[in-house]
């Protein structure tokens, strides 16, 4: 089965409008990068709002940020960086032939999806704690101290940014799961591994977004 899959893959994987696998691979990599540039500007819209309000309300943003738990944020950062490591190893092993690298590919993809799910699980507990503390913006928003109104702006941005990040991560987990299932059937090898590669690019991008969100949301005004 796996043997047949290997010999068939190069023929069936080349779409009719490309001349060769190299052109097809180059197109999909560029396509993903252009999409990621789009994503930068998508998150960038909300980050611009953040930049303005942080400069206009520095004290309120410090006070609001201090209600977040740095330890949760830091642990989640390491979890996500770890998932990027396993993803990078997955892409590395996808480019190799043989059953051993296939096992490694499937294993590291599964690990990536698992770490992504751990991140989401931690995030979910954090969300429920914030909701219980009355920090979700709206009529029920409760914030002790002097900066209640701008703090609501902070928490609006917090939920928008982390919520969209979590959505991206959830989509990533789904895609990684699909790719892992196909990898288990011996679909990818040195000749054809484009889907693994562009899934990796997407996954690392989601990591990069969190690398910025962590200091911007959790580490404001900690030194007083």
């Amino acid at each position: 089965m796996a043997e047949a899959g290997h010999s068939q893959a190069p023929v069936s994987s080349l779409k009719h409008h490309f001349d060769d696998m190299e052109q097809q691979q180059a197109a999909s990599t560029l396509g993903m990068w252009v999409f990621l540039a789009t994503e930068v500007l998508f998150f960038g819209g909300a980050l611009t709002v953040y930049a303005v309000y942080r400069l206009v309300y520095p004290a309120a943003f410090s006070a609001a940020s201090n209600h977040l738990d740095v330890r949760i944020g830091a642990v989640n950062t390491v979890v996500l960086i770890g998932s990027s490591l396993t993803m990078a190893i997955a892409v590395w092993s996808a480019r190799r032939n043989g059953p051993r690298s296939t096992r490694m590919l499937v294993g590291s993809l599964a690990m990536t999806a698992l770490l992504g799910s751990v991140f989401l699980a931690i995030k979910a507990t954090e969300y429920s704690a914030k909701l219980a503390a009355g920090l979700f913006p709206g009529p029920a928003f409760r914030f002790p101290g002097a900066h209640a109104r701008p703090a609501e702006l902070f928490y609006s941005l917090y939920f928008v940014l982390t919520g969209l990040h979590a959505l991206h991560l959830a989509i990533g987990i789904g895609v990684v799961a699909v790719v892992a299932a196909r990898a288990a059937r011996g679909r990818y090898d040195l000749e054809y591994h484009g889907p693994v590669e562009i899934t990796g690019l997407y996954w690392h991008f989601v990591d990069v977004v969190w690398i910025f969100l962590f200091p911007l949301l959790y580490l404001v005004g900690r030194g007083g």
Binding site: H17, D19, G31, T38, G45, V56, P137, G138, P139, S156
Partner: protein, 533 residues
């Protein structure tokens, strides 16, 4: 001919709705953007009817607010932005670069479905009460006070934005990766350069409006505080984010039009384009500069006066690449053998009307003058000269030029010339009086006005009815031609370009064998070709 035309096979509705052929997707888009063009026009008819008389009688202020909002939303997001790229661009980009399809054919089909979904949601919002915020969705009116279907419309436009992103992404990758052997960047038709520049803006600008609309929806539907002044938010910030996309969006509408005009002028002057590289790079320059000037929409918003000065100065720069294009088209005509076929009539219309629209744009980018005519009909006239006089003229010109290729049949030249003339006359009668109205101080977005402005308003409404007739005539004869028009050869115009080397209509695979390119894009001036070759 060994292969069947893309129109003939395969057959059946299913084969059309599941097609990944860029040419068929172009046809799907042609049908859908045309529907939305006539929907948007219907709102325009209602607006011009109300403005026949000074009193606000035909509709109330509230209804009028919904009418101009939906006219703007439908025309901009569902017609003007997609029109040329998704119809002519989809059809021609692969053909002009000698490719069998776009880089991501399934993504291309997906983008059409995304468009249909977004447009349908907005349509649903229109049926269920409509929106009254203006197409600009300014906060805090949109987030707090408006009683229209802001959330539904916002979601519809948000979704349609992804259609635009996917199209731009597809074009960029296709132009980078799928060019035929020998087709270097400076051998690309200017239509391709223009679409590349357009795609840059679609990809880099659209996500910002997507996020902005999402934030508006989050504030209105979920009660988050983003732009809400009651919670210390800044409504002007919304305008920044909105115009960061929506100013470049104007160039998303007009740059592909410029690409069309470059093809038309060369083909019907039988001359190579004057200053190819300048025209090509002017497209890129317009795309990049377009991102540095958005603040000129906000001179009277409460934006910092210093930011206003910078945005004003930068806005003047856009005139440079725009003027390069107009001058080079004109120089291309010089000593050319110009034939006044229908597409060329539209090209002439474009050049003249775009010039008027562009020059009045300079008035508006001057900070001091804009303060006086801001939000008057002067602005309305200005951008209609660009969008209707520019984009729609070029869309129709391009549609006529490539119609023999798209449909395989020729249209009745007499009717076509007549309707081009009707459109030109109707357009100017509609919108030139609006410059005067704006200069006299008539504000936009009001359903009533002082009686002394009635003569100009009646002229405008009369022009609109002529314009409407002008748009209907091509609808009829283009449909007619598909069945009864004479069959045409591969290259009826004697034009250069790879798309004319294939049969009309082309086979599904476009080219039997991948073409190898050995010459520059325009080979009309044989003397020059000899010197170069």
């Amino acid at each position: 001919m060994s292969a069947e035309s893309y129109l003939a096979s395969p057959r059946g509705v299913r084969s059309w709705l599941l097609t990944t052929d860029h040419k068929r997707i172009a046809i799907l888009y042609l049908v859908s953007v045309t529907l939305f063009f006539f929907l948007g026009s219907a709102f325009a008819v209602a607006i011009r009817l109300e403005l026949l008389t000074p009193a606000g009688d035909a509709v109330q202020a509230d209804t009028y607010g919904r009418l101009f909002t939906m006219h703007g939303v439908v025309m901009i997001f569902f017609f003007l932005i997609p029109a040329i790229p998704t119809v002519l661009g989809n059809f021609l980009v692969p053909m002009m670069i000698g490719a069998r399809d776009l880089a991501f054919p399934r993504l291309n089909l997906l983008s059409w479905y995304v468009y249909v979904l977004g447009a349908s949601i907005s349509l649903w919002a229109i049926v269920h009460g409509g929106v009254d915020t203006g197409w600009t969705f300014y906060t805090p009116f949109s987030t707090t006070y408006s009683n229209g279907a802001v959330v539904t419309t916002g979601i519809g436009v948000f979704i349609t934005g992804f259609s635009s992103i996917l199209t731009g992404l597809n074009f960029i990758v296709t132009i980078h990766r799928m060019r035929a052997p020998g087709l270097g960047w400076y051998r690309l038709p200017l239509f391709i350069w223009a679409h590349y520049a357009t795609s840059l803006m679609m990809v880099l600008g659209t996500p910002v409006i997507a996020m902005t609309l999402l934030l508006v929806v989050a504030e209105r539907a979920l009660g988050l505080g983003i732009f809400d002044p009651a919670r210390g938010g800044d409504p002007i910030l919304f305008q920044h984010l909105f115009w960061f996309y929506s100013h470049p969006a104007v160039y998303i509408m007009v740059l592909p039009a410029m690409g069309v005009i470059s093809e038309l002028v060369t083909a019907f002057a039988k001359k190579n384009i004057f200053g190819y590289r300048f025209v090509a790079w002017a497209s890129i320059a317009i795309a990049v500069l377009g991102f540095f000037v958005w603040g000129h929409h906000m001179f009277v918003s409460g934006q910092s006066a210093y930011a206003g000065m910078v945005f004003s100065a930068l806005s003047f720069l856009v005139a440079v690449p725009s003027a390069i294009k107009v001058f080079n088209w004109t120089a291309t005509l010089y000593r050319g053998s110009v034939s006044f076929r229908t597409p060329m009539l539209y090209a002439f219309g474009f050049i003249g009307l775009f010039t008027i629209g562009g020059l009045t744009g300079l008035f508006l980018s001057a900070l001091g003058l804009d303060v006086h005519v801001h939000d008057t009909y002067f602005v309305v006239a200005h951008f209609h000269y660009i969008m209707v006089g520019g984009t729609i003229m070029a869309f129709l010109g391009g549609l006529h030029y490539w119609w023999p290729k798209i449909s395989g049949s020729s249209y009745p030249e007499g009717w076509a010339r007549f309707s081009a003339l009707v459109i030109f006359v109707g357009f100017n009668l509609t919108f030139f009086p609006q410059f005067l109205l704006g200069y006299l101080g008539m504000p936009r977005r009001y359903h009533a006005y002082p009686p002394e402005l009635q003569v100009l308003n009646v002229m405008s409404s009369a022009g609109a009815s002529i314009l409407g007739v002008g748009y209907l005539i091509p609808m009829v004869y283009l449909f007619w031609s598909m069945r009864y028009g004479a069959r045409v050869a591969a290259n009826p115009w004697g034009a250069s370009g790879l798309e004319w080397t294939t049969p009309s209509p082309p086979p599904t695979c476009n080219f039997e064998t991948t073409p190898v390119v050995t010459q520059d894009p325009y080979t009309y001036s044989s003397e020059e070709a000899q010197v170069v070759g």
